[in-house]
């Protein structure tokens, strides 16, 4: 049983006055506050170096918290009872490591029986069920590194589900993927949303964030805006976050078409 089952009345995530950064480096995020309720799906947007990955890593307990606190279902995120599913950028994973898709998913169960040198039947079957859920059964025995970017991301999402995570943190899942892979990942995220899983996703793609998420957090060292896409993707806020390199233009349907003078940061493809 996870803490989520025991404390369903409290917010899924509370970030209060958070200040964090990498060791021996200047603090990346400071005075950051927001709350997520169970089942919330929130996109985290902001420029490079704004602290999106830092925030996710602080919530996951991967980097030390300098100031403030992060509570997952009312418990400090560094507590051993907190199950956080962190899906890193694919570049953070060694793709030549000898593991199959099934091995990667079953690793999500490693916490419950870490001293057993083998995977119990229950865990292996659960991993197969999750692979089937994401329509990956036919590639269960293939090497993880040989799979497409979309398949790899879906496997990492399945692994996070195997962890029975209280909250899912996704770090740029659409980075470096083609249109097909992006569609596969979107479908997987939709599946998570339908299951009522609390999810916080960092992304550069503001158009996708605005289209697929009801709530956005715009960060740039600290929280600049928190709310629905129309309220967050405002030209003044974007100018504050991205500086002179980005301009925002409202469209007819209330969405914002974000264009960059130096490089494209998002495309309106609807």
């Amino acid at each position: 049983m996870t803490i989520k089952d025991q404390t369903s009345q409290v917010p899924a995530l509370v970030v209060r006055d958070l200040g964090a950064g990498y060791p021996r480096a200047p603090r990346t995020i400071d005075q950051l506050n927001f709350v997520m309720q169970p089942g919330d799906c929130v996109a985290l947007v902001g420029p490079n170096g704004a602290g999106k990955s830092t925030l996710l890593q602080a919530i996951a307990g991967l980097i030390p918290i300098d100031t403030g606190e992060v509570l997952v279902y009312g418990i400090d995120c560094r507590d051993k009872d907190v199950h956080v599913g962190h899906i890193p950028q694919r570049s953070a994973i060694d793709l030549n490591f000898p593991v199959t898709a099934h091995d990667v998913v079953v690793m999500g169960h490693a916490r419950s029986n870490r001293w057993l040198p083998w995977w119990p039947r229950k865990d292996r079957e659960r991993a197969h069920e999750l692979l089937e859920l994401f329509q990956l059964s036919d590639i269960a025995d293939r090497a993880f590194g040989e799979l497409s970017a979309g398949q790899q991301q879906r496997i990492l999402i399945a692994r996070a589900l195997a962890q029975e995570a209280d909250i899912l943190l996704l770090d740029e899942p659409f980075n470096g993927v083609d249109v097909t892979a992006a569609a596969e990942i979107t479908e997987a995220l939709q599946l998570l949303r339908e299951q009522g899983i609390t999810m916080l996703m960092a992304t550069h793609d503001m158009a996708r964030a605005a289209r697929d998420f009801d709530r956005l957090l715009l960060v740039c060292g600290t929280l600049l805006a928190d709310g629905p896409p129309e309220a967050v993707l405002r030209p003044d806020l974007l100018l504050q976050a991205y500086g002179d390199s980005v301009g925002g233009l409202p469209l007819k349907d209330g969405m914002l078409h974000v264009t960059s003078i130096s490089e494209p940061v998002g495309l309106q493809d609807d």
Binding site: A60, G61, L62, G85, H86, F97, V99, T100, A110, L130
Partner: protein, 343 residues
């Protein structure tokens, strides 16, 4: 047939040869198992460095009559610490730090050994091993320590696997990541020191890497890789022992050459298999389909399905007559049955 048995049994009539064979099997299997983690994590250079960096510790123990294992272990841990401290400054990359540390430690070891009158002979023993000098006490210590290392790997297998593949997942699962990293390096250092007497510092790396790299060529699973590498390392020890006996070459070089030959053969077999699978450039024919074609041809049923491949036919884009553009696929989510996460 009798001659073959005689040739195989002849060396075993000598006590030192029996001990040598057992020692080579032990260190061959153990090194391959430990080396599997090094190959999987891409730590080959670190293994090379550590195998040389234990030299000063071994040399001090050798000259003072101390415990070789403890001496080697101490030097190995000291080297790991030096590398960790050097890489704190981001201007020094890890491979640079490893290179500087291991050459320094190796030079220190040679300097210490050179203080002894029997410098040349001692250095040769440490660099290339002296399998004939293994006594029963050494063998018992080797077996006990090998058992301990294998037991620790078994106990920590799952955690080592997770931390090796994705250290962040290890942290999220609240595994003691730094302890596990240190544990792996200590296990490598112990393995290296245990193997010193059998194959020596110079050739040690081959026992760590070659069987594991060979196993990696044929499997995509870490557990299978470890088992296969362990068997290969053990078998490599036996084959190397007999080659050494029959060809009158040092066991260390016999094992290394034979393990490299096995690696080369497996590599060539794999490359050939890929070439055959690929068929002509750009066309991939699956093995079951080729077998099916061959069976049909042999039974005389129709014509062999030459030219058929497992590649799906090219998809024709759906053209919207009005828009004259490729119609986007928007029905996938709606038509696919909704699934519920099984609990």
């Amino acid at each position: 047939m009798t001659e073959i048995f005689d040739a195989l049994l002849e060396p075993l009539s000598y006590g030192f040869a029996q001990r040598g064979l057992l020692a080579l099997m032990l260190v061959g299997g153990l090194s391959a198992v430990v080396g599997s983690f090094m190959v999987a994590r891409g730590l080959a250079f670190f293994g090379h460095a550590l195998s040389h960096a234990v030299l000063p510790g071994v040399a001090i123990a050798y000259t003072t009559g101390g415990n070789l294992l403890l001496g080697g272990l101490g030097a190995g841990i000291l080297t790991s610490l030096i590398i960790a401290i050097m890489t704190r400054d981001r201007k020094v990359k890890e491979d640079t730090a490893i290179g500087i540390a291991f050459v320094t430690m190796f030079a220190l070891g040679i300097a210490i050994i050179s203080t002894r009158p029997s410098y040349s002979g001692d250095l040769t023993h440490i660099l290339f091993g002296s399998i004939n000098g293994i006594d029963n006490g050494d063998l018992v210590l080797m077996a006990a320590m090998s058992g301990l290392v294998l037991l620790l790997i078994l106990i920590f297998y799952k955690q080592l696997l997770v931390v090796s593949f994705d250290p962040e997942l290890g942290q999220v699962l609240r595994f003691p990541v730094n302890f596990l990293r240190a544990l792996l390096l200590i296990l490598v250092a112990v393995t290296i020191v245990l193997s010193l007497q059998a194959v020596g510092v110079a050739l040690m790396l081959a026992l760590l890497l070659t069987p594991a790299a060979t196993a990696r060529l044929v499997t995509n699973r870490m557990s299978h890789m470890i088992l296969l590498a362990g068997l290969l390392g053990c078998a490599g020890g036996v084959i190397g022992f007999y080659l050494s006996w029959w060809l009158n070459v040092p066991p260390g070089s016999a094992i290394v050459l034979e393990l490299s030959a096995i690696f080369g053969l497996v590599y060539a077999w794999r490359a050939l298999r890929q070439l055959l699978r690929r068929g002509r450039p750009g066309v991939s024919i699956s093995l079951p389909l080729r077998k099916h074609c061959a069976r049909r041809a042999w039974l005389g049923i129709g014509q062999p399905m030459a030219g058929r491949t497992n590649r799906p036919p090219p998809r024709t884009p759906t053209i919207s007559p009005s828009a004259k553009t490729v119609a986007p696929c928007t029905k996938v989510r709606a038509t696919r049955p909704r699934k519920v996460i099984p609990s």
